[in-house]
Symmetry: C2
Subunit: 457 residues, 2 copies
Amino acid sequence: MSDTIKYLLSEEQMPKDWYNLAADLPTPAPAVLHPGTLQPVGPDDLAPLFPMSLIMQEVSQERRIEIPEPVRQVLRQWRPAPLFRARALEKALGTPAKIYYKYEGVSPAGSHKPNTAIPQAFYNREAGIRKLTTETGAGQWGSSLSFAGALFGISVEVFQVRISYDQKPYRRALMETYGATCVASPSNQTAAGRAILAQNPNHPGSLGIAISEAVELAAQRDDTKYALGSVLNHVLLHQTIIGEEAILQMEMAGDDPDVVIGCAGGGSNFAGIAFPFLGLQLRGGANAKKRRIIAVEPAACPSLTRGKYAYDFGDTAHLTPLTKMHTLGSTFTPPGFHAGGLRYHGMAPMVSHAKELGLIEAQAYHQTACFEAGVTFARAEGIVPAPESNHAVKAAIEEALRCKREGKSETILFNLSGHGHFDMMAYTDYFAGKLQDVNYDEAALATALAGLPGVSA
Amino acid sequence: MSDTIKYLLSEEQMPKDWYNLAADLPTPAPAVLHPGTLQPVGPDDLAPLFPMSLIMQEVSQERRIEIPEPVRQVLRQWRPAPLFRARALEKALGTPAKIYYKYEGVSPAGSHKPNTAIPQAFYNREAGIRKLTTETGAGQWGSSLSFAGALFGISVEVFQVRISYDQKPYRRALMETYGATCVASPSNQTAAGRAILAQNPNHPGSLGIAISEAVELAAQRDDTKYALGSVLNHVLLHQTIIGEEAILQMEMAGDDPDVVIGCAGGGSNFAGIAFPFLGLQLRGGANAKKRRIIAVEPAACPSLTRGKYAYDFGDTAHLTPLTKMHTLGSTFTPPGFHAGGLRYHGMAPMVSHAKELGLIEAQAYHQTACFEAGVTFARAEGIVPAPESNHAVKAAIEEALRCKREGKSETILFNLSGHGHFDMMAYTDYFAGKLQDVNYDEAALATALAGLPGVSA
């Protein structure tokens, strides 16, 4: 029987500000560089792609940035999001640990992504923008931006990695239901796409290529901008509402996490849960205890645990600025696995910087172990996690089992970033024994790492 | 931009009782008859299939029946469910009407069905039952009972209509994730199934056949009972928590519905939203205003609008008792359409009785008009409705447009019984122009109606 306890904030308790980790870091993250001049980019360099309000957030050193009321109005449809004590899971594991999870699958698009899609659509509309382009892999981000576009009257064009476009038609149907246009990438609509198709008409695509296409299109038109669903500082900033709520909810529960866990692809949901707790620690004071903060990534695409901390491009066609991050190389194509949202060569610069400073840990798990953890979770707690979120579930279960071995009743908090309703085919494959652990090609990784720009600033 | 307003009750405000319409009806619903003796069935006749606690609820005349605390504990994971004012939809329609919707898609299984799956699993476990059998069409009910079985440690075997089993593997994956066994029906596991397969090895199945199989299996074993997801009085009873909450939430909003709408297949979500409001009217007093209460059904399976009010079986093999209801005939096979949850030949006896008493209205719509309404709703409100729920959305929009024509600012409340995450292929077909309106075969309906038992009691 479910012994789950729900901690729900009132709408009045929904955070009024986002939290900016940059204000509290002991040293600033390395500058973003212009790929031509190798000089730090200024706000104007980013203006073709983003409205100035988001660029100012990207470079802000302010600790608190106010969430505009029209954004709060939309977020209130599903926020504050619940935090649960997973007592049934604790019992199933026989652990003395206390396990809590913050659940972001309550948004209409089913994940944490609308937390940033909504403000991005809002700021773009304020700037008079009529159209947004973006990329998506599995489709969590593309469907979230489509949702935001529908609410704010902005048309959205999504370049979806072709292999996902073909294999996961349900997410595409969701984007189209919200009125967005979804294009398989590489496409004939851009020079970047045409160049790749010329070499290989059946190219399966990658997030790096899809970003190139979306950026290229946005840069060409004054009424069109580009939106990114992870990696950038302003995206991470928008996700901190997750951790800000979780801090209040852990107080409601009369508890305080010893371990904070999030899965990490580009790093946005991880930063969302982790950065506010990191801020407590960095600022010192009553809540400043040192917590273990763990980013969990797929073993098949392990940027934090196997990548190089170096300057690299965010995309394949090298249209983006250079950022210093943990990267597998922008020419690296991750192998196919079901957590498409974690299939990116790089990691958010701010997350990478925190890792370099020793503020966070990183772990990597293979997918079958993650699905096994997800099924254990679903049978105890009732919620079926997204394949990406299963990585966080796996790490939380591992920590709980460690506590059992060590006889410790630590408090574990993880972010359940989304539900798996659009990913049930992966569960079907898992039950049918068709799901296998995949590895990246060591030689290809070595090549990609060797091809890094070699810029040090 | 979304102007949606959310009305959320505290956990303390979650109803402590279910509401039983039988206590307030001016005349009792006709008796349920034993198919052999044609005499009213007693509790003992139903004992092979249901635990006595549920049978007592089935025949209860008590107005309020307490929700056991262990059931409330589970329901609190997602309840009280939110009620929203659909201001963005109102604006999109340009209507002076106020539109509210109660959203039941927040449950882990994604629909209202866990409201009854949880108490059914609880009462069976209290009675020492180890296994439950049931049927499912599209899979909303099967996945909900599987979810409940996982929480209460009861194994669940689901007979899924074969055509859905083959066409909708995602719902099956959800059932299996919860640990249930899912069998395509007709199957070789039962005499009922074998008899049908002997005639037609490729039979696509129907809910009536799947019920026969599940009932047959449950009746054979002492530790196994049967669970039904709609139609029966105790199922409708468990769903009244929807309307009980909605009454409180409409008070929060300072409003009171003139029109209450639910889609109706077997009738449970409709009864859930409608019966508590009907009770206010029947009991008289301060809130007793006459509201229009509308059941919305698919034009391709129109039991309330085209069926006969007569005694009929609930299943195809005629293993169930005879109930008086609006029926298309238990030998009638509804044509295939995407709202599989509304594809049943009969209607809940209590809903049928209310219709005969003139307490409720019924409307029927074809599926393409319902999907069009669902897309309009999704683009305004962000939530993608289940195909079943789209029928309620369609009726609500029609009422809102009537208000616009008539210049009336009526208050419309409808039940959004579930989300469409597992039904996106239907949306894909809709956008691709592949979705067509289907009609039942008039001759087959005439035959099925002519074959009714002809019992009058």
